[in-house]
């Protein structure tokens, strides 16, 4: 791995920053020639009536403002551009007594610092702040790339949910017709459209529990609905695997009821992502990629997700594809900032996909989870860990 794996800790940054700030105030700091040398912490004390910044100048590069709220209201700190309007960086929601860091890439130029106790109004303690030194190389047109990534990802989500709506209907038609063999065949592949965009469904609160809750997730007295309720009916467990209780198949009326609910909940998801104002932020995309891999790590790699059908590897594949799509959407932006991270992620996505492909594909089907040896599961788990660890740096690199 690169230095991404062990980012500098805050104490180190703070200590280095204190030294640099002292030197800067003494007027004897040498000009920095690289962005890395510009790293350092500047303290900001946001009190009831002031916004005391420990330095008025810094050299270009990564700046850390360590903001402490010594007032009694929730506060914010802003670094504003020369025009005093455009926001270069901000920290929000800093409770009284709490400290929080703002990390920005600062180019040479004139800026303003300002605190906003109470989070409304023009703020107080507005002061000039000068960044000297050389221009830091940043990728051009980053905002355009970010905007485009969001547009592309929303389109992808709509496409997947659209396919999910029709696929679910086909699946449920077989199920309601009593054609259990066909329904069993369709079960795992239909779910792939959902598994690819699962973090999106989770962002709508109630929808994911209604659509995708496992039996163990359900509280006593709450109704268990969704895919896994039907899964249990299609892949009925022996009594020994069902807390010693003989499984009672659903009646035709019960099947209809659960099918109607799944149809309605899937439609609600479709309506939500097709709402005119539906959009995603760039960090939601990268966090979605991270979240999908964590889904694999916590549910699929353990066989918990598909406890009756054992089709966990189908979900695994779909989660991995969804993560890859999200990653590819922001890959170029990240590459400009950290090419080593991108190289690592490219390699590990490919490596994990190769490992998984040894067990099948969505087209041809996979090995059932309960037919995997412990060694095989561990090999897959190792691949998930190898990818997840650098992937966990994606958002910080993207928005940092």
């Amino acid at each position: 791995m690169t230095n991404q794996k062990f980012p500098k800790t805050r104490p180190v940054l703070a200590a280095a920053g204190a030294a640099i700030t002292l030197l800067a105030l003494a007027g004897c700091v040498p000009n920095n020639t690289s962005a890395a040398d510009g790293a350092g912490a500047i303290t900001v004390d946001s009190s009831a009536d002031d916004c005391a910044v420990s330095a008025t100048t810094a050299t270009s590069g990564t700046l850390t403002f360590s903001v402490t709220n010594s007032g009694d209201q929730v506060t914010e700190f802003y670094l504003l551009a020369e025009d005093g309007l455009r926001i270069i960086g901000e920290v929000e929601n800093v409770g009284p007594g709490i400290s929080r860091d703002l990390v920005v890439q600062a180019q040479p130029g004139d800026y303003f610092t300002v605190c906003k106790p109470g989070m409304v109004g023009d703020g107080i303690g507005r002061a000039g702040f000068t960044v000297t030194g050389d221009k830091v190389q940043l990728a051009g047109d980053v905002q355009d790339q970010v905007d485009q990534a969001a547009v592309n990802y929303v389109a992808y989500v709509k496409d997947q949910v659209g396919q999910l709506v029709t696929g679910t209907q086909t699946f449920l038609d077989s199920y309601l017709a009593g054609d259990d063999a066909t329904a069993r065949d369709l079960y795992a592949t239909t779910r792939a459209n959902y598994e690819r965009i699962e973090p999106v469904a989770e962002s709508f609160g109630d929808l994911d529990p209604k659509i995708d809750f496992r039996e163990a997730d359900v509280a006593e007295g709450d109704e268990w609905t969704g895919w896994h309720r039907i899964e249990k009916d299609l892949f009925p467990p022996a009594a020994a695997d069902n807390n010693g209780v003989t499984y009672v198949p659903l009646t035709a009326a019960e099947r209809q009821d659960y099918a109607d609910k799944l149809t309605a909940d899937t439609q609600a998801l479709y309506d939500a992502v097709n709402a005119p104002d539906y959009t995603v932020t760039i960090d939601a995309i990268s966090n979605g990629a991270i979240g999908l891999l964590e889904e694999v790590a916590s549910g699929k790699i353990t066989g918990e997700e598909e406890i009756w059908s054992h089709t966990d590897l189908w979900d695994f594949q779909a989660n991995l594809e969804g993560a890859k799509v999200a990653y590819e959407g922001v890959r170029d932006i990240v590459e400009a900032k950290d090419p080593d991270l991108v190289k690592t992620l490219d390699e590990r996505f490919a490596s994990l996909q190769d490992t998984l492909a040894e067990y099948g594909s969505l087209d041809t089907g996979f090995t059932y989870y309960n037919e995997l040896s412990t060694d095989q599961v561990k090999q897959l788990a190792d691949g998930v860990n190898a990818l997840s660890e650098p992937l966990s740096q994606l958002t910080a690199t993207l928005v940092g």
Partner: protein
């Protein structure tokens, strides 16, 4: 204060059953008063803690409001097919041995090295020369002691089962394993020296062979809560301070209200006792470690460094759940752990927590088999643990990073009078 070699008066009412000759409960005179420095003070501060000695006999069992020690060995037992009299004898033998060991003595009449040369020693010996190290031994009775799973009333006490000793309901996302759950009896051994805690469970298990067998047990390190105001708040394996708002022993009003069962609560024999809920909570360590600091802090609702609530202040500031930030969103999220577990969100219900970190090596997939062995004492689980845990299981953002894999509930009877035994109020 006392010479441990001086024999004390032999207590009455202790059986001489079995191999161990435990009648010589030689320390009944020592069991009064707390934290007696019976050994020369070692040079280091941490070693000084090991000189703590807590009384075994008293109104309440030790190990509940006692300042939480650093180490745990907890064991749950299934009682064999024995008679009521034999069960009582087991409790008597256990109490006698516990009274010795908690005072830094060896178990049995002859201890580890002074017995019959042709017989195995009374005491297993690995704690020889070690101070009491703050050892407390706490006994509890599980629901199945009163009534077996098949409904049999093995010991004629089904009618005396306290209403508060309920079977816990299924909580959302429970992934309980039988082999880590339940039990007829339990013993909690806490100490500042792991060898002393292990020694206690090992000898008590040995005494019980043929009468009760270990069903499951758990080693713990790094107490995950403070039970006294003098203690620093420790950290759990998520790296966050845990137990900041725990019930503290000094808050006697709260302790009386929330921890000790009263005779008027329905089971007179439980007066001065408490109810213990244990939960083995596996943490998905690797996943957590890949989570951004922003999410980690949002899940908890406190800062990781200071432990201050997100609404501001320092560690011991009271969280302000009404404080809002940008867009009117609450600073402490609706699904933050600190909000959902707070008494204000649970009709004032609190728990006295005495949990410990555990790392049981790794699993088949190379993941740390680690987490929190949660222990909570309370007056009535129906009013305290169950509603709090139901609230957490349904809503807590932390659920994404934890699994409940073991669960048990026990009635912890009051402490034994000098010369008596734990459980005498039930069987005597």
């Amino acid at each position: 204060m006392s010479d441990p070699t001086t024999p004390a008066p032999t207590s009455s009412g202790i059986s001489r059953r079995g191999l161990f000759g435990l009648a010589g409960a030689g320390v009944v005179g020592l069991g009064v008063g707390a934290a007696v420095d019976r050994f020369a003070l070692p040079a280091t501060a941490s070693a000084q803690e090991n000189t703590a000695v807590y009384p075994f006999f008293g109104e309440h069992q030790s190990g509940i409001v006692t300042p939480a020690q650093d180490r745990l060995h907890f064991a749950s037992y299934d009682v064999a097919d024995i008679s009521r009299d034999e069960l009582v004898e087991l409790l008597q033998d256990w109490s006698a041995a516990a009274a010795l060991m908690t005072q830094g003595e060896q178990a049995g009449k002859f201890g580890a090295v002074n017995g019959n040369y042709d017989a195995p020693p009374d005491d297993t010996g690995e704690a020889l020369g070690l101070p009491a190290s703050g050892l407390t031994i706490t006994f509890g009775f599980g629901p199945t002691l009163f009534q077996a799973a098949d409904g049999t009333d093995r010991f004629g006490i089904a009618g005396r089962r306290p209403a508060a000793l309920v079977d816990l309901p299924h909580f959302p996302a429970d992934m309980l394993q039988d082999a880590l759950s339940g039990g007829d009896l339990c013993i909690q051994a806490c100490s500042d020296d792991p060898q002393v805690a292990v020694h206690a469970i090992r000898n008590l298990s040995r005494i019980a062979f043929g009468r009760a067998n270990i069903r499951w047990s758990q080693l713990g390190f790094g107490r995950t809560s403070s039970t006294t105001k003098a203690q620093q708040t420790p950290r759990n394996l998520f790296g966050f301070k845990d137990g900041t708002a725990n019930i503290k022993a000094e808050d006697t009003g709260v302790v009386d209200d929330q921890v000790w069962a009263s005779g008027g609560d329905g089971a007179a024999w439980m007066a001065g006792g408490s109810y213990l809920v244990s939960r083995k909570i596996r943490m998905t360590i690797e996943t957590w470690d890949r989570t951004s600091l922003r999410e980690q802090e949002a899940v908890i609702g406190r800062t990781k460094g200071e432990g201050a609530p997100y609404s501001g202040g320092t560690e011991f500031s009271e969280p302000d759940f009404s404080a809002t930030g940008q867009g009117g969103a609450p600073l402490i999220a609706q699904d933050a752990h600190v909000r959902l577990s707070h008494p204000d969100q649970n009709s004032g219900a609190q728990l006295l927590r005495r949990g410990y970190n555990f790392v049981d090596g790794n699993d088949d997939l190379g993941r740390l088999n680690a987490g929190l062995f949660f222990i909570a004492y309370q007056r009535d689980p129906r009013e305290q643990f169950i509603p709090i845990q139901m609230n957490l299981a349904k809503n807590d953002a932390m659920n994404e990073y934890i699994r409940h894999v073991g669960s048990a509930v026990f009635a912890v009877p009051p402490g034994a009078r000098q010369g008596g035994y734990v459980g005498e109020t039930l069987f005597g």
